[in-house]
Point group: C2
Chain length 228, copies 2
DNA sequence: CTTTAATTCATACGTTCGTTTTAATCATAG
DNA sequence: CTATGATTAAAACGAACGTATGAATTAAAG
């Protein structure tokens, strides 16, 4: 009755879009599916957002704005407590990936649906999506990279960047791949090991990421001069 | 002249499909693009393969058949040499992921193009693709899983499966994400650290994977009873 | 109530999609 | 050369796509 409704339609479209883009990808989802599931008129998307591309961007912005702020906030907090001293790698990894993973338990912020969408979209071929995500991430990524450089001064920067990249991949798959996991295991994974038990996935993944991040530096066999 | 030509058209379509599916995804690639780039008639795809889906599957089968056999061959060889004793984790990881990564240098087997396609497709939303890949991988995956179980008897099986999954993710991203890497670094990565230097990526990734695989087991905070 | 702006609705537009059909062309065997 | 089967070519199919339009409906202001 006395609702403050900021256009209920907008939110319904965003929710439906989030779920369908996650399930079928950007190209694989039609406006008719979205408006159908949202229970609104076909023209509503173009009225409220302008285009399908703009809708996709808004689906992400709605969640990423918060995630970026939260990641910044956590990092600021930790660095303030450290009083100028470098952070521990485990703190940085938790600030970046832990913050992300904990979103999965927060239905108000999209929950697992958004996380799976995000994970899948990082490999999404569509040009405009990757460009948009890169822009959205840029500032936060830079801060965390710097923190890692300070935290691991003995490790070459290029190596850290690569390992950051590897960590991103492992994390995305861990979330996006409910189904990709079936590649590895037929026998349905047992109750307490299920993908839905986010509280168990987080420490599992964290331990893997840290192990990778801190593993011995690779030995490049042979000189590099005798190759192209 | 005296060519044994097994229909040149077929191969041209497969090559064009491989490249375009890699660049724009399955849904994002049209048959007109494929036949256009291949320089063949539009109807040729349906004539030679039956449908777009069937073409996609053939694109993968052409490469995966060899990859699966090679992975099996390498594992058989190592296990024969071990004479019943468990393999080292590094051997198994290299047999599975190293064999894959070395395909990138083999243009005759699709090179980086196919590897990027494969990496992206693991998160591809299209149902039939994931089902197809799961089926193709099943047998080989089972063998490597068993080898890992034997190699790390003190680690719970569920934990190994998860870490296998994480390794898959890190590897896929490492290959597929030339562009996703731009998320992490603006400044174009230097010559010898470029993504194209496969000979440097392999030891880098291998060291990361092994570090993650052998990292300390996670401590699950609190009991599991007080949660849903 | 009347007016005005915001939103929703049904409908249609012009393209592009994957696939099919029918005819033309090619290679090869008798 | 002729006959036959395999391949290529040109054209069209209906369906689905994202988007735009103008009328109907709703909500808020005067």
């Amino acid at each position: 009755m006395a609702e403050v409704r900021t256009s209920d339609t907008r939110e319904r479209i965003l929710d439906a879009g989030e779920r369908l883009f996650m399930a079928h990808g950007y190209e694989g989802t039609s406006m008719r599916q979205i408006t159908g599931e949202a229970g609104v008129n076909l023209a509503a998307v173009n009225y409220h957002f302008g285009s399908k591309e703009a809708l996709m961007q808004e689906v992400f912005r709605r969640r990423l704005d918060w995630l970026n702020e939260e990641r910044m906030r956590v990092l600021d907090l930790m660095e303030a407590e450290a009083e100028g001293k470098p952070l521990k790698p485990s703190q940085i990894v938790d600030g970046f990936f832990g913050t992300l993973l904990r979103m999965a338990g927060d239905e108000k912020r999209g929950g697992v649906t958004f996380l799976r969408l995000l994970g899948r979209t990082l490999t999404e071929p569509s040009e405009f999506i990757r460009a948009f995500l890169a822009h959205e991430y840029q500032v936060v990524m830079e801060r965390y990279k710097e923190a890692l450089f300070r935290s691991l001064p003995e490790v070459p920067k290029a190596e850290i960047i690569w390992r950051f990249h590897f960590m991103l991949g492992a994390t995305s798959y861990a979330i996006a791949g409910t189904d990709a996991l079936r590649l590895v295991t037929d026998w349905q994974i047992e109750d307490e090991d299920s993908i839905d038990r986010l509280d168990r996935l987080v420490p599992r993944l964290m331990s893997f990421l840290l192990g990778g991040l801190r593993s011995p530096l690779p030995q490049f066999s042979e000189t590099t001069a005798d190759r192209k």
